[in-house]
Subunit: 118 residues, 2 copies
DNA sequence: TTGTTAAGTTACTTTTAGTAACTTTGTACT
DNA sequence: AGTACAAAGTTACTAAAAGTAACTTAACAA
């Protein structure tokens, strides 16, 4: 019987847990795409994001934006225009995702070449 | 009427598309966690991954592993032990996800401090 | 003969995502 | 005055994905 967990194994457990913590905030089919839309432009309105993110519906966009707001990754601002527009932007915390998104983008290009575009 | 799409906008579109390409390969609640389990240990058996990834069921693990194999991110090897064991390891292509996973792990730690562990 | 192990699969239920139509508020057109 | 349109959603309903629990297969050990 194993009585002592190695330091290495404990490290892996921590690593696994933190990866899951990240994914809990970013799960859902559209979140990363939504963040990258907002990220690219700085500020972005509901209908702009709806256009940027191919395939997302207004229902899903609304839902995912709410969850991103709860996780303090984006900030929602209602503008007193006519008709009203709503602007979304990344919080400082949301901005810390920039490197991850850049790398995902780079990886996506390689992956498409390898799998999709054979 | 806008007749010319700016170069900047075209760049963003490409960026968005490649992010989606990446996410298409990595979607599903458990894929990233599964990859990081295999990645940490080099080679990992079905039951090991089942243990590493907290909350995943054997049904889901089986399904996600199949999809990862289709996307050529992991390699499956049946060993002639008794009872048979199956080893999973990252392909070269799968290994290119290492930096993304490390960054997700680092981000997850920061995020937990900010949101969960307040 | 019964039990155990690894790596799954099957049948069934619950949760999540997708679709399409509707809402609200003010402005512009006829 | 009546109709239409726009932005940012919401609602009711359907389809797809994920979760649960029990079952399978093959070989070996008690």
């Amino acid at each position: 019987m194993r009585c002592k967990i190695t330091e290495f194994q404990q490290e892996q457990k921590k690593r696994m847990r933190s990866v899951q913590d990240a994914m809990d905030a970013l799960n859902g089919k559209w979140k990363i795409a939504i963040i990258s839309s907002i990220c690219c432009y700085g500020k972005r309105r509901f209908s702009d994001i709806l256009n940027d993110v191919e395939g997302v519906s207004n229902r899903m966009l609304s839902k995912e934006l709410k969850e991103l707001e709860i996780n303090e990754l984006i900030k929602r601002t209602v503008l007193a225009t006519q008709p009203i527009t709503v602007e979304y932007e990344l919080t400082d915390h949301g901005n810390t995702l920039q490197t991850i998104i850049s790398e995902l983008s780079a990886w996506g290009i390689v992956h498409r070449k390898k799998i999709v575009g054979k």
